[in-house]
Subunit: 209 residues, 2 copies
């Protein structure tokens, strides 16, 4: 199982690392981090640098994963990335996104009429690509699977691992990474977070944009 995770400048690290941590542990999996130019890419915070191969080093992955980041929603997306996503999707077994990575799938034209999800702050943008946006953490639609914001990539990848290798293999990965979450707060989605917390996050995201 060949897996490729496509990075771009200012990617959000966990969007990529969650699926990496789970999918790379599937039996027989190999995984590449790729980007338009290859080389070292820096995450959204500016504090993490990851080494990537050029996109053409992963011409036909069986699973492609597109993470999000504050630049995923902008019109300056690299057309080489969109071309690669389209081509890889043509032959992939699974095409996945996390967070605003769904906007990249949308910009590549893959989500027209397709049920999908994204980070809660970008629902309207995703709908603008013709997606049928569902308020779910993970959405499967044929071979396309999209996840909500950042940390949802763990849940998406575990579900995908189960479909690919069976429940036992997925549960073994879950136990291996001790994924028995116990968040100390219950503010992880907009239905639960107090309104002032949401306002604070939206203000910061506009500043970071």
């Amino acid at each position: 199982m060949k897996i490729a995770i496509a990075l771009f400048p200012r990617f959000t690290a966990t969007d990529a690392i969650g699926p990496y941590e789970i999918l790379s542990r599937l039996p027989g999996a190999t995984l590449q981090f790729v980007s338009a130019d290859g080389g070292i890419l820096t995450s959204d915070t500016g504090f993490l640098q990851v080494v990537t191969e050029p996109l053409d080093a992963a011409p036909a992955p069986e699973i492609l994963v597109v993470p999000g980041g504050p630049t995923a929603a902008t019109p300056v997306r690299d057309p080489r990335l969109l071309d690669w996503v389209r081509a890889a999707h043509n032959t992939s077994q699974w095409t996945a996104s996390v967070c605003t990575g769904a906007l990249i799938l949308g910009a590549a034209g893959l989500l027209r009429g397709c049920p999908a999800t994204t980070h809660w702050s970008d629902v309207d943008q995703l709908a603008g690509y013709g997606a049928d946006v569902l308020p779910q953490r993970v959405v499967f639609a044929g071979k396309i699977v999209t996840a909500a914001g950042v940390s949802a990539g763990f849940d998406m990848a575990l579900a995908l691992a189960g479909r690919i290798s069976g429940d036992a293999a997925a549960m073994a990965i879950q136990l291996g990474i001790e994924y028995d979450p116990q968040p100390p707060y219950d503010a992880g989605c907009v239905r639960k977070a107090p309104a002032p917390i949401r306002a604070l996050v939206e203000q910061r995201m506009r500043q970071a944009g």
Copy 2:
């Protein structure tokens, strides 16, 4: 707030990236990935390469975080890493570990008589360093905070974020990364996972050792 995450060959990526994702979003935070020699380090799966600075580029972090990995438990740990952990702990405000990173804190002599936790597979080793091992996902003991396996770093870092910057700041980070986990299986800890799943994981961990 200066944060340093100390990597070593074959680190487990999520052990490091979970705390990175949360702590680097604290107001005013800066974060460095460091390692004994600096340069590019490869994760346990072999598929992720991260750029690091040398340890002496982060001589006195206010928060130090030590992730785990299959080499964390071995006697071949780099003495320079242990020396740095000891020195950094002397002046840190918080000293944190995720997963078998606790074994590195233990080998550095920081956990004698100290309540602590680690990955479920390494409880006996941690006790061998004199730690009072608790079956908890996150353990605070003075300024030392330890987390259980891999994904527990998210819960640890969120709790730590709350202590450092207050509940509102921590909840804003939780909402920003949409950390409202919904694992598709309930096999994330040894009390819940079926016995054959545990046996499978233990077999794989011995092979990976």
